[in-house]
């Protein structure tokens, strides 16, 4: 009995859980206003990632490519980088940030990104003396880390380029939620407002859920501005909610500008949300308001109806981003679900020493496996054993066929969730997020009971 931490022992991957670094960098890039990331690599590195974002959000995001062709692979891609930047600056007059996101090919070729940026900066200054455009180097070779690290790297590089000096005290709290949905951003803003805290959310992706308007204007872009990033060095504190997605930028602001940095457990579930709110209260001296006590109570009230009647002892597999998977496992334990398999999908060696995982190890009194550097075949392989019992899968849409083929109820959570409508709009963080996820889990189980005629009559009187 207990928690065992292992790694995938195969060399290859069958069905990956994460995309590569440049994909994550692109996700961070689109979180900014007046920004078009420029991916330095083959065209597929951009085209498919744009499609992936469109699948998840049902929105289009602007991301450009240097369209690396054969001659650049041989002679270097500097000219294409410079041409790409200038084409963007000329054709998009509002543009203020361009991240040059490298890929495996351009890192192998060894293109001098910083050198090209110097050239671009000169050209921009000459041609557009009145404009200020930040061209940001983002080194994200696809053969290192994953979309998780790429996200973090792009946020950090952008801050390093824009937040160059200590800003005047802004009276603001920097909040780094990690790679989350617009629904989470909206929730965090609501919580900050409820606590009377002026928070800057990096990145502010609320408008990734954007309207069809009578005037046909398009507002599908991040809201984080150059000014927000500049002001971050004058914040009274930074609070990172995801250890692997954005916390490094909080550390940078601490080391460079003495902005106090705090890291909390990712606020999935009740206790983790409590800890986040207490931390905000501690940093700001502001009390936790009645409204959040009430929201917490509503969530508990809803989850209490589900926990020991439906959830208790149900065996759960969870896959996705590390901060999400760890947070969800803690949430599961709160509602009496039994996480038995956690899949973390890249070769980051820090996961095994993550204090939250070590705490789980102390806590669980059932068999639980944590597989690092995992793929989705780790899940499917286990299910091929008829004695391996699993009652629920929590994860993103890339794992949908495991659930479909093995007839296991699955609640979609994380990124991407393209096979369910509207999930990006809902929070998973916070009390409300915990409640909505708990209810999504229950409804997935209920529908499964009905389709399989498995004691569906229980629900006759629930």
């Amino acid at each position: 009995m207990g928690c065992e931490i292992t790694s995938r022992d195969r060399a290859g991957i069958i069905n990956p859980m994460y995309d590569c670094q440049p994909a994550g960098a692109q996700y961070a890039g689109i979180g900014m206003k007046d920004c078009i990331p420029l991916v330095h690599g083959g065209q597929g590195c951009t085209m498919f990632v744009r499609l992936l974002f469109a699948q998840h959000f049902k929105e289009n995001f602007d991301i450009a490519s240097t369209s690396l062709h054969e001659e650049s692979a041989v002679f270097g891609g500097h000219a294409r980088m410079q041409d790409g930047v200038m084409a963007l600056v000329r054709r998009y007059p509002h543009l203020r940030i361009i991240q040059i996101i490298t890929t495996c090919s351009t890192e192998v070729i060894g293109d001098d990104v910083e050198g090209s940026i110097n050239v671009c900066n000169k050209m921009i200054k000459e041609e557009f003396p009145d404009r200020e455009v930040y061209v940001v180097p983002v080194h994200t070779p696809s053969f290192k880390s994953s979309q998780v690290g790429g996200y973090s790297e792009c946020v950090l590089s952008t801050f390093k380029t824009i937040a160059k000096k200590k800003a005047e005290p802004s009276g603001k709290l920097n909040l780094f939620p990690g790679w989350v949905n617009p629904g989470d951003v909206t929730l965090l803003k609501r919580y900050a407002a409820a606590m009377d805290v002026d928070a800057s959310i990096f990145m502010d992706t609320e408008d990734f859920d954007s309207p069809m308007l009578p005037d046909k204007s398009i507002h599908t872009h991040g809201r984080t501005t150059v000014e927000d990033i500049r002001a971050s060095s004058g914040a009274f504190a930074s609070l990172a909610l995801a250890r692997y997605e954005g916390a490094s930028t909080g550390e940078f602001l601490r080391d460079e500008f003495e902005v106090p940095h705090h890291l909390v457990s990712t606020p999935y579930g009740i206790a983790n949300t409590d800890a986040m709110l207490r931390k905000i209260s501690e940093i700001t001296g502001k009390p936790i308001p009645e409204s959040l006590v009430k929201e917490r109570g509503i969530a508990l009230d809803a989850l209490q109806d589900l926990a020991h009647m439906f959830f208790a002892d149900k065996r759960v597999a969870i896959f996705g981003h590390p901060d999400l998977v760890i947070g969800l496992s803690e949430f599961c334990i709160e509602v009496e679900l039994k996480p038995v398999l956690l899949l973390l999908g890249d070769d980051n060696t820090k996961y095994k020493r993550d204090p939250r995982i070590l705490a789980l190890k102390d806590k669980v009194n059932w068999d639980m496996e944590v597989v690092c550097n995992a793929d989705l075949w780790e899940l499917e392989k286990r299910l091929k054993d008829p004695d391996y019992k699993l009652d629920l899968i929590l994860g993103h849409s890339k794992g949908r066929y495991v659930a479909i083929d093995h007839k296991i109820p699955m609640a979609r959570v994380g990124f991407p969730t393209f096979d369910r409508a509207g999930l990006y709009r809902q929070p998973t963080m916070g009390y409300q997020g915990a409640m909505l996820l708990g209810e999504a889990i229950a409804n997935a189980m209920f529908a499964h009971m009905e389709y399989t005629h498995d004691r569906e009559w229980i629900l006759n009187t629930w």
Binding site: A11, E59, S65, V108, S142
Partner: protein, 472 residues
């Protein structure tokens, strides 16, 4: 009319050579958009890469073949769950993707051992599968991994398996088109003729350039069954690896998608003397014409006429119902290349739709020759159109519906223009007679979506009369 320089392109004036507005009486020899040319960096082009042209478009369709991608994880992740090509064996091709998950040390020290291990593991993990495609990607091509040598070694150690290697890194060529070419030529060089097919009919053909999008192949297969024609190989819709090894035994190559797969038909003609017949499988008139040509080749015209009569009987009334209601609808087509010329005249003839603008991601000169010949005057013909150009063209031609991919579909939604998935379809199949009724239905439902009218209403203005009355 000269080529068109759009306002948004004033800083990249070379784009003028890629955009043509057709005028009556002009000769397309004088005004043909430049195509299959290098992409201008930073333009927000729609193009993909050569690797995806090989893996995602052609190889990954096969229903019995492991697709091992030798590279970092992204190339596998990105070419998974982006296509709608089912199979009759439970969609093995759409459920799985395989990668050697290259890391930095393999880039530094070479990835051949990693590839060998990954290939063996994949066969071990899925012991029922004996066929594999292996693809290079940008970094493994740059470091010079010899994937053919690795495949050869594994095949010598595992005599029951067969492996095809495809070397088309993403930076090869200017678009996905290069990948189509590499895969076509590689396959005929290395695999065609390596297995003898079982011949079950006096009439045999290969059906080339149809990828079973939402069941296209399976629908057309019902026609070939009725006609008594044996399809030796489908290249590659719902197809198998071994069937494609026997392509050399067909009497006729019928080509639908000439851009992605015309190469192999040409080589089959050159090397084995098999004639190539190009048909259009979308549209009533075209499909009937295609069936007639195929049947004429085999001398079974009466069977063909009977089939066409049956299908017209079943579907023509339904098509005409939509035709009546779609008259004058303005359509734009922004897809890969050939669908421009497959569709422009068929939607015009069969549905009364006017195609007002077309953009191709990877079409070549011959695609533009065909589409300009078939398309209307007053229509824009664009090579490698980019986002700002799309906005400007939309302003000029004001389409009622756009056939394009889901991402661009999300973009034009904000402009209150409905899209129909021109790549994966909304609710297909779209090929064949039944399929074209599906296309007509999806177009009709798109254009007549009441939400689009509501989207244009600013509720701060005066309410329309009808609403007022209802409220009073």
């Amino acid at each position: 009319m000269p080529m068109v320089l759009l306002e948004c392109d004033k800083d990249i004036p070379e784009r003028q050579q890629h955009i043509y507005l057709k005028v009556d009486g002009e000769d397309s020899r004088d005004y043909l958009p430049v195509s299959n040319a290098s992409t201008i960096p930073g333009t927000l082009s729609e193009r993909g890469c050569a690797f995806c042209g090989a893996k995602l478009v052609i190889g990954g369709v096969l229903k019995d073949t492991i697709q091992m991608i030798h590279g970092p994880i992204g190339c596998a992740y990105d070419t998974w769950h982006t296509k709608r090509y089912p199979t009759d064996n439970g969609h093995f091709n759409m459920k799985y993707v395989w990668s050697t998950d290259m890391k930095e040390s393999h880039i530094v020290f070479g990835g051949e051992k990693r590839l060998e291990k990954s290939i063996n593991e994949a066969f071990d993990e899925m012991p029922d599968v004996k066929r594999m495609f292996v693809y290079t990607t940008c970094p493994t091509a740059l470091i010079g991994d010899d994937i053919k040598a690795v495949a050869k070694k594994v095949m010598s150690e595992r005599p029951e398996v067969d492996i095809f290697t495809c070397e088309c890194p993403g930076f090869a060529g200017v678009s996905q088109s290069k990948g189509h070419h590499v895969l076509n030529i590689g396959w005929i060089n290395e695999k065609v003729g390596s297995l003898e097919p079982e011949i079950t009919s006096d009439y045999t053909m290969n059906f080339i350039g149809d990828f079973n999008i939402q069941g296209d192949t399976q629908l057309l297969q019902t026609y070939w069954d009725k006609l008594g024609i044996q399809v030796i190989a489908h290249f590659t819709g719902n197809g198998t690896y071994d069937a494609l090894r026997g392509m050399h035994r067909a009497q006729l190559n019928v080509v639908n998608c000439a851009r992605s797969s015309g190469y192999i038909a040409n080589e089959l003609k050159k090397r084995y003397g098999i004639p190539r017949l190009d048909i259009d499988s979308w549209g009533f008139s075209y499909m009937a014409e295609g069936i007639r040509k195929i049947c004429a080749f085999f001398g079974i015209e009466d069977r063909g006429e009977a089939l066409i009569a049956d299908e017209y009987e079943k579907w023509k009334g339904k098509l005409d119902w939509y035709k009546e209601r779609l008259q004058g609808t303005k359509m734009a087509i922004w897809t890969g290349g050939p669908r421009l010329w497959h569709w422009t005249k068929s939607v015009e003839d069969d549905l009364g739709i006017q195609v007002v603008a077309m953009s191709s991601k990877f079409g070549h000169q011959e695609d533009f020759e065909k589409v300009i010949a078939r398309g209307q005057s007053g229509t824009y013909y664009i090579d490698d159109g980019n986002e700002l150009e799309f906005f400007e063209i939309i302003e000029k031609v004001k389409p009622d519906v756009i056939f394009t991919g889901p991402r661009v579909g999300e973009l034009v939604k904000k402009l209150h223009i409905p899209y129909v998935n021109g790549h994966g379809y909304h609710n297909g199949p779209y090929m064949g007679f039944e399929g074209f009724v599906n296309l007509a239905r999806d177009t009709y439902n798109a254009v007549h979506n009441p939400l689009l009218k509501l989207a244009g209403t600013d509720i701060r203005g005066t309410a329309p009369a009808a609403f007022k009355e209802a409220a009073e």
